[in-house]
Amino acid sequence: MSPRHPTAHRDPIDPADIDMSAPLGARLTLPNPVLTASGCAGYGRELHRFTPLHELGALTTKTVMPYARSGRATPRMTETPSGMLNSIGLQGSGIDHLVTDELPWLAEHGARVLVSIAGERTEEFAETAARLAGQPGVVGIEANISCPNVADRGLVFACDPDASFAAVRAVKAAAGPDLPVYAKLTPDVTRITDIAAACTEAGADGLSMINTVLGMAIDTHTFRPSLAGVTGGLSGPAIRPVAVRCVYQVYAAMRSGTLRPVPLLGMGGIASARDALEFILAGASGIALGTALFRDPSLPLKVRDDLRETLARHAIRSLADAVGLAHHQPEDDSRLRRTPV
């Protein structure tokens, strides 16, 4: 342990004594901070063979729209250094299917479900959200506003503060008072705090960061783009520094009072408890695993348990106490001083 370590003076505590619960706003506390990222665990059935869903903080569903969507032609995926590009194109069977066939199964298996929704128009967001109130197992909605807006000639909602505001407000109104709404942001913007501000002003209960980074690859044998969709979303450890920066910037803006404070869900390249802790220290109250599940579908419980061990080693009694610690100067770290050990 380095001498600069903020908790170097404290004795480790028993992992069993760590409070791993993740407070995600007034209407939602999860038993642990480890979620799956949307689109990286389908509707849970396949992952359940490796990670019992009730052990997760929550399962975030593949983004669902009001109707079935075929998704894009193949190739839809290509590997890149420490990352991958995908252009799945939001393939899914639509909200009816989710409500009828998936949510009951998920509830039966004890999953807490964050339903990721999207639309091509603001109204489609609302239409989808309206179907979710009171559904079994559903603990919240993630509004995937990182998708193209037909009314804005295909510009991604989350690239524009006004479109973001409209979509989030519509979802809030449709979801009713009980379901917290998280807005999922794209990093592909000049100032992510502007979009975060639009979402929190529209009433978002929290923010998810980040969606994939726009990228592309070219097949140097065929001389054509590697993905049928030409561009795709970059994910995996390659983008982790970008994701940590986004979470840090938004949390910093909230700390400084320029943004209404709401809980953050951090994601982007998390592949270990160390990585998860990086997001928590940056300001995330919960974290989601995406691409890493493709390599290791058993990862969520490892991350959860290793995170608990790590907190114990650092004598941090509660996960919530670790949130945002990287923003504290060692000398002014009242939060650490306040934690009794």
């Binding site: 590997e79 091509e120 994939t212």
Partner: protein
Amino acid sequence: METRHPPRTEYHHVPPTQTVAVIRRIEPVGAYHRLTLDAPAAATADVRPGHFGALAIGGPTSATLLRRAFSIHRADPTAGTVEFIFAEHGAGTRALARHHPGDTVDLIAPLGTPFPLDGGPQRAVLVGGGYGSAPMATLAEAILARGGQVAFVLGAATADRLFGVAEARALSPHVHVVTDDGSAGERGRVTGPLPAAMAAIDATDVHSCGPMPMLKAVTTLATAAGARSHTAVEEAMACGTGLCMSCVLPVTGPDGVTRFLRSCTSGPVFDGTTVRWDDTGTLPADLEGAAAMTPYAPKETDPA
């Protein structure tokens, strides 16, 4: 086109296991590598021909994140081993080829929908292209064990890319070998000897594994001859476990609706007549949900 044999429907899903497997042996076979893993948890009697395994290659400092899928050549519950035959293709398989006995890889197996073995004894032609021959020996054994009959058509670009010829000859008197360049067997494609092979055993079934154009051609011939055609497809996979949706192809369901199905869960073995071969790599307009893709023209900023 007349189908004498109704489509088979029983598919055998078994729960996959994830294990850190130790490499027992890794050795060249022609242009390929034979990889034998110690993986008792995966090497169960539940493994069926057509099942595959998905390997994570490299440790925590590896830049290649995704799993690599390989047909299970043979799983031996007694020895606790699982064998694969793999070709060096890109970064991951090249790195795998540099592994040594004692090194570990993370294995998830068995995965996918294997070749169907139901519906009474089959008289089946097994068609393998290149490393696509890997699952054919155990498939033959399973068919023979159920009282069926088998013939083989094994093809490859060149002699060193032929696999399993000796094993095939030990299992059947009907073994046809073809290579593109004539360096072994007849010069030509598997479709050359296929009609004769089907005729020789009055085939009820044709099972094939190899490149997509081969699977399509085999299905056309088999179907024309009234045999069922089951094809093990190869689509680029990121996970192999059904999570990512990258491995889809257009498959027509019993309801007549075509959907993008995942080849790692609904496949890799599909009834060849249900696959829209000519539409792979495209977005057919009549696909379920295809209309939802078109309200806006695809934008370059269009994310996942």
